[in-house]
Structures are given as C-alpha cells and as structure tokens.
C-alpha cells in the first residue's frame, strides 16, 4: 500500500516527536549517571553537561562503605516485599468481590471505600491511631495503614468486570464450584496482567515511601533507604540556609561536601533495582492498565 504525502509527513513528525520525548526522558538519566562519577566541582560549575568530567569514584566508594545505606537497602527490600504481598492479598480479592454483580451491597461498600479517597483523619489523628495500636517504631506502621489503595482497587475491579466473563463463572457454578475456589482456580489464572501491574504500582510506592517512615520510625536500624537518601540530599541544601548566625561553618562545609560527592551515586544506587525490574513488568503493564482503566 502506498503512503500518501500526508501519511509520510505524519510518520515523520511522529518519529520526531517520539525522539524528542526519548531525549527528554533519557537526558536526566544520563546526566545523573555521569554526574555520579564526576568531580562535584565540575558538576556545579556547569562544565559537565553530558559525559563525565574529571572522573572520580569517591562517591560510590563512600556509598558502599556507609553501613547505614546498606541497612536502608535491606529494610526497603523487606518493606517492599512484605508491603506488596499484604497489598495484593487485600486488593485483588476485594476488587474481585466488588466486581461481582451478584454481591449484595456492593455499591454501598464501593461508596464507602471511595469516601476515604476524599476524606481522611489528617496527620495527627492518624498518628494517634497508629500509636494506640502500638505500631509506632515497627514495620507494621509502614505496611498496615496503607494496606490497600482505593485507586488500585477500582482499577482492578474494572479489570475483573471487563475480562472475566459472567458465563465463565456461571459454568464453574454449574459444575458446583464454590466462590473461593472459583476465585483461586478460575479467576486468578486469567488475571496475570492486573496482578503484575498492581505489584508494580504497590512495589514502587513502597520503594519510594519516606513520609510514613519519617513520621512513625525512631529507630535508625529500621529506617528505609529513602530516609537515608533524603538526609543526604537535603543536607546539602540546608547548609546554605544555615550559613549566617550559626557557627560551625567548617562542619557545614564538610557535610555539604560529603553530600555533593555522594548525592548522585546514591540516586543511582537507590533507583537501580527498579530500573532493572521495570522492563520485565512492562509488557504486563500495557495490557493490565489499559484494560483496567480506560475501558472502565
């Protein structure tokens, strides 16, 4: 089939547009990678803009020497795994139940769940609740208060409504299948994409989580990676603000220097696992999310 001029023009601009998009996504990645092995003075002076200048590995050496970063790493992996499992155990069955047309009161329950999307107790009441449940300073403070995200339940519910035909369920029912068994043996096997997508959503959420950890955790041995990372990144900014009035300029200077050296390497180290996992989950992504959200 011959393409018309307009078609060719369209394809041309399409490629151009996608190329620009690619550059805008790729550039920060390359920049951070290069900056992580460049001399911070060169980075700040603007001499490094794409490829590494005055290569130094000091940043990585410091990161790998720093015991706390590894503690953080270990904890983050633990929280991500544990948190995601809890999330999936709640989200998927809940979404499926809500997707079933023969489930009595499902609209009311949906409404109730959605209500929490718009209204919540606020920081201090939530803190007091978590405190009274004796979860402060434990892993559970990071896992249980956000055991399910409403948005994700709705996306999964829509997925089940769209992809699990009523006829399939009826067929199983006629064969005498119980609801639980139907969920495990019939529905789950055809729901791979949505489970993968939910795992990714929740996983990324847990991986990047810092606020709850900041509020609820005191013991540095159970801090997630993001808290340590944040300490490092923010410290270089704070030192500038504290420059007047406070003494200890040398201390400030020393900590700013460390932060400058370590900043980009820590970013790489903390983002790497997700970057590695992402391509493998990506193929589910398109399927799952498109079906789950757009058609709903």
């Amino acid at each position: 089939m011959k393409e018309s001029t307009f078609d060719r023009l369209f394809v041309y601009f399409n490629h151009l547009f996608l190329f620009l998009l690619l550059v805008s996504v790729l550039y920060p990645l390359i920049y951070v990678t290069s900056a992580s092995i460049s001399d911070p003075v060169a980075v700040n002076a603007g001499r490094m803009w794409l490829f590494p200048k005055e290569v130094t590995w000091e940043g990585y050496q410091r990161v790998f020497r720093d015991a706390e970063i590894w503690i953080g790493y270990k904890n983050t992996i633990l929280y991500t795994l544990l948190g995601t499992i809890v999330n999936l155990l709640l989200t998927i069955p809940c979404a499926y139940a809500l997707a079933r047309k023969d489930f009595a009161g499902r609209n009311a329950i949906t409404l109730f769940i959605v209500f929490t999307m718009f209204f919540n107790g606020g920081l201090i009441p939530t803190f007091l609740l978590v405190k009274s449940l004796h979860m402060v300073d434990t892993v559970w403070a990071l896992v249980l208060p956000q055991a399910a995200a409403v948005m994700n339940i709705i996306v999964s519910r829509t997925f089940f409504q769209m992809t699990v035909p009523r006829e399939l369920e009826e067929a199983a029912e006629i064969d005498g299948c119980s609801n639980l068994r139907m969920f495990v043996k019939v529905v789950l096997p055809i729901s791979g994409p949505i489970i993968a997508v939910m795992a990714l959503f929740y996983g990324v959420m847990h991986w990047n989580q810092y606020f709850n950890a900041m509020i609820y955790l005191k013991d540095r041995d159970i801090f997630p990676l993001q808290l340590f990372l944040r300490e490092i990144l923010v410290s270089s900014e704070m030192s500038a603000a504290m420059q007047t009035g406070v003494s200890d300029l040398e201390a400030m200077e020393a900590q700013a220097r460390i932060a400058e050296i370590v900043k980009y390497s820590v970013m790489i180290v903390s983002a790497l696992p997700l970057l590695v996992v992402y391509p493998f989950l990506q193929r589910f992504f398109v399927k799952g999310v498109l079906i789950g959200s757009l058609k709903g």
Binding site: I109, S132, R230, E231, V234, A240, A254, Q255
Partner: protein, 529 residues
C-alpha cells in the same frame, strides 16, 4: 441506590461512634517542678547526679554530619558519669520540625529537648500551656554554672526571658570572634597579579578595585571570565555594603534606642544606587539572586571571583593549606559619602531554644544538674571535642584535635553532638582559641582587629506577645517580600530609582509604622528588664 445509601450511612455511624469514644490518657500525674524538698535519688553536688540510674526520653535534631547519638562517646561517657540514661528520638534535620510539632500536638513529647531547636513560638505557646516547665527556679537551685553566667551576662538573661517573666528554654552562647561577623574578602592573588597594594577604604575605592578586577585579567587566563563581586546570596552580600552606607540590616534596627526601618531610610536609597552602578558595569555576579552555595563555591574554586562575602577564604577559593588564608586580606569596613562612621553588623551570639524540660519529666532537678555541666568550661569543652584532643606543648598553650579518617568535622560528628547543631552550652573561648588551627587563628585575628571595634547588633533577641507576633507575621510577610523584590528590581534597573518615593509610600501603606511600634514596644520591654 436507596439501599446503598442506608448501608453507607450505617457504616459511617459505626465509624463515628468508634471515634467518639474518647480516651483520657495523658492524665497521669506529672511531677511538679516546684517541689522544694530534694528528691531522695539526687546528689546535690558532684557526680554521679543520681544515686540510682534513671532513664529519660530525649528529643533532639540529628544534623547530617552526626553519627547515631546513642553511639556517641559523649552520651556514653555522660551516662557513666551521671547515671542518667537516655532513650533517644533524633529525627534528621529535614524532618525534625514536623516531628517536633507532631510530638507537641499529639501529646507524645519527650522528657527533655537537647539540641531541640525550639522556636520562640514553641517557647511561648507550650510554655504557657504548661507543657514546657519554667526553669528559673531550677536554675537558681540546681544550676550554679548557668546561674553565675546569667548573673554576669544580664543581656543573655533578658533575651531568654519570655514576656510572662519565665525562662522556658536554655540558650547556646557563642562568642568566638570569627563567628560573630560575616566578613568580606579580597582575592589576594589577584591583588598581587595587578600590583595593587592599598585596600579600599570607601565605596568609591571599592568601585575602582572592582573595575580593575574586571578589566585587568587578574586570573591571567587571557579570558574575560572574572566576576569582580559575588556572594552565595544577597543575605551575605548586603552586610558589608549596607554597612558602608551606615545601615546594619535590611529590616529593623535600633538607632539610639529608637527603632527604624532601614529600607525606607535615605541611605538605603544611596545603597540601591550604588548597587545599580555595580550591576550596570557588570561588576556584580549576575547569578547572585539565583545561585546555590555550591554553584558559588564552584566559581571560587575555578579562580573567577575577586571580592566575596563568606566565612573564610579557604571555603571559597582553591586553597589547600588553610595557612594560606592569610594571603587573602579582608575588605576593610568601608565608609561612603553619606556615612563617615564605620559600622558593621554583629551576629547574635545567642541561639535560643536549645534545651527545655517538659512536664512529663519526673526528674527535672537531675536534668537541670545534667545540663548545667555544659555551662562550665569543662563540660562545654567536653561537648565540643570529647576527649579527642591533646596538648601540643608542655606549657599547654596549644592543643590539637586528634581524629581518625580524613575529615576532622566528620570524625567530631561521630563522637559529640556539637558539629552542626546549637547545644545548650557557653563556648569556652579561652580553650577554643588555643586550638592549633591556622585558619581559625587568622580569622579570629582579622575579626578582632578589623571588625569587632565597629560591630553592633542591629536588634537584640526579644520575645513578642502572642498578639504582637500574630500581627508581625502578617506585616513581615508582606513588607519583607516587597522590600526584597524591589531591591532586586532597583539593582537590576527594572525599576528606576526615581520611583523611590512611590516605593516608600507603598511600604508605609503596608503598615510599616505598626511594625515599628511593635518592635519599639518589645525593645523597651527588653531594655527595662
């Protein structure tokens, strides 16, 4: 649908009723601070402070350079010495404020704050609510060092006594000369390269020097990449330049016990004109209003900056040996056509809100004895350097800090909580000046000789009543923002200086007279205490 609404309503009711079951915790009896008889566990003098070990909850801000507090030599040794053990809650700097507010708001506050960074609003609000206990009686009875210090320094006492006459938090006092003024420096190598030997004494001299730096290629790289005048921020740069025009601040200052608002003074207009000339002649760093400290320092390390305002030359220029600081002279305190008297702004030596005791604390007397130790020279030095130092000579005229690893401050941050955080103590100048530290000695000398004779505080640390504070928050937000915006516009020439009268009128419309009278009232109270 109707059914669903009913079910929803039921759920909501259930939830509400669950919420409304109020619990009356926090009613546990709290130790009253004014108990007169000595608690049985307490030793009135010497160490240990308590005969049996006690445990207290401590909250403090962990500076980025600190190691974990429970592993610090400082706290471990203090525990052995005093028998007081702490459970630490040390949120990192960027989350500290949030955590502190949450602690107060939720009633989960600790027994004491150490390095607590309480602001004046905390002191006043939580002091009046009774969460922070008044300390003056405890100081009287259990803090001989602090008591003596406050008697000798009534200014400090005035500045930590709130409007209701109570002291709720203890200060850090730092009178190390080099910390008291932010100094301007001249790149000494550039001076040498251009054969300039006389340092500027007036604003006109400075203009000439900057022009020479701009045109003479002082860094000798054949390129016109020199930035004659720069600083990490306007806050720094303003100090020497405003001072040249006789002003100590770009806000409130005291002149003969009268409060004035500097940005509407006529000398401030002269300052703006001067800065505008600097900008037009490309003598001023064009990134001054936007750069980060790191970007500024990077320029310095690349030998592109001539005159700059920063704590020390070696923190900006590419100097590896701190002794080389002495090659770079300080820009002298300048005078100008409109101001023949030399003045320079003095930083406050007091940092408030570093320590407080809450009503939960069952051992306020022991806690006060514990903190009082740091107001003695011995305790203060212990909090500064631990025991990681030794005399360099038999006469004990010089000592040096002994450390492992490649950075002194990093090591210090692992053993004591002093680096990067104001602690409740008085720095022992006598001891600190004996440190074998070439840059420090030079900075102290320059400060003492060239700046301290002219240095004055713009406005003392005072407390405002709640009412005053509320009004000030509004006024300050408007006026300060406007003043700083207009400063930039005048300097960059976006607003011609002929607009000056409009500018003053606008500030007056914003209520600057109210602001001045509030400060005047607070100052008069401070003065009379």
């Amino acid at each position: 649908m109707r059914k669903s609404i009913i079910v929803f309503a039921c759920f909501s009711l259930l939830l509400l009723s669950a919420c409304s079951r109020s619990d009356n915790r926090n009613n546990e009896p709290s130790a009253s601070a004014s108990e007169k008889q000595t608690p049985s566990n307490l030793n009135l003098t010497g160490f240990p402070i308590t005969t049996e070990k006690i445990t207290l909850d401590l909250m403090g801000e962990k500076a980025p350079i600190h190691g974990p507090w429970d592993q610090m030599y400082f706290f471990q040794e203090m525990e052995k010495k005093t028998n007081i053990h702490f459970e630490f809650d040390t949120p990192a700097r960027e989350s500290y404020k949030e955590r502190k507010n949450l602690a107060f708001a939720s009633g989960e506050y600790p027994d004491l704050f150490f390095g607590g960074q309480l602001d004046t609003a905390d002191e006043i609000n939580y002091g009046q609510q009774g969460i922070l206990i008044p300390l003056e009686d405890l100081i009287e009875e259990y803090a001989p060092n602090l008591k003596k210090f406050l008697e000798e320094n009534p200014d400090v006492k005035r500045s930590i006594t709130t409007t209701d006459g109570h002291i709720y938090a203890l200060p850090n006092v730092n009178t190390v000369p080099r910390d008291l003024v932010m100094k301007p420096w001249i790149n000494g190598e550039w001076l040498a390269n251009l054969n300039i030997s006389t340092l500027p004494a007036t604003t006109d001299d400075l203009l000439e020097l900057l022009r020479a730096f701009r045109d003479g290629d002082p860094n000798q790289n054949g390129e016109k990449d020199e930035i004659p005048l720069s600083a990490p921020s306007m806050t720094n740069l303003r100090k020497p330049l405003l001072a040249a025009f006789g002003l100590l601040s770009n806000s409130i200052e005291v002149k003969d016990d009268k409060i004035v608002f500097s940005p509407i003074e006529s000398n401030y207009q002269q300052y703006l004109k001067y800065m505008n000339v600097l900008f037009n002649e490309k003598l001023l760093d064009s990134e001054l209003f936007s750069q980060t400290t790191q970007q500024f320092t990077a320029k310095g390390k690349s030998d592109r900056i001539g005159v700059f305002v920063h704590a020390a030359p070696h923190l900006v220029l590419d100097i590896s040996d701190p002794a080389d600081n002495a090659k770079h002279p300080a820009l002298p305190v300048l005078t100008s056509e409109v101001n023949s008297e030399k003045v320079y702004p003095l930083n406050s030596s007091i940092t408030r809100g570093t320590f407080a005791i809450t009503k939960k604390n069952k051992y306020p007397e022991a806690t006060m004895r514990w903190v009082d130790y740091f107001y003695s020279p011995e305790g203060s030095n212990f909090a500064m350097v631990g025991d990681s130092w030794q005399w360099k000579d038999a006469d004990q005229t010089q000592w040096e800090f002994v450390y492992e690893g490649d950075n002194k401050e990093e090591y210090r941050g692992k053993i004591v909580p002093d680096p990067g955080l104001p602690l409740p103590l008085v720095r022992d100048n006598d001891f600190l000046s004996k440190e074998y530290n070439l840059s420090g000695a030079y900075l102290n000398k320059v400060t003492e000789e060239q700046f301290l004779p002219y240095a004055q505080t713009a406005f003392p640390l005072v407390y405002f009543t709640e009412e005053e504070q509320d009004r000030l928050n509004v006024l300050n937000a408007d006026i300060t923002t406007y003043v700083e915006q207009m400063e930039a516009k005048f300097i960059f020439g976006q607003t011609p200086i002929s607009e000056w009268d409009n500018y003053v009128a606008t500030i007056q419309k914003m209520g600057v007279d109210d602001m001045i009278s509030i400060y005047q009232a607070a100052y008069d109270r401070w003065k009379s205490e």
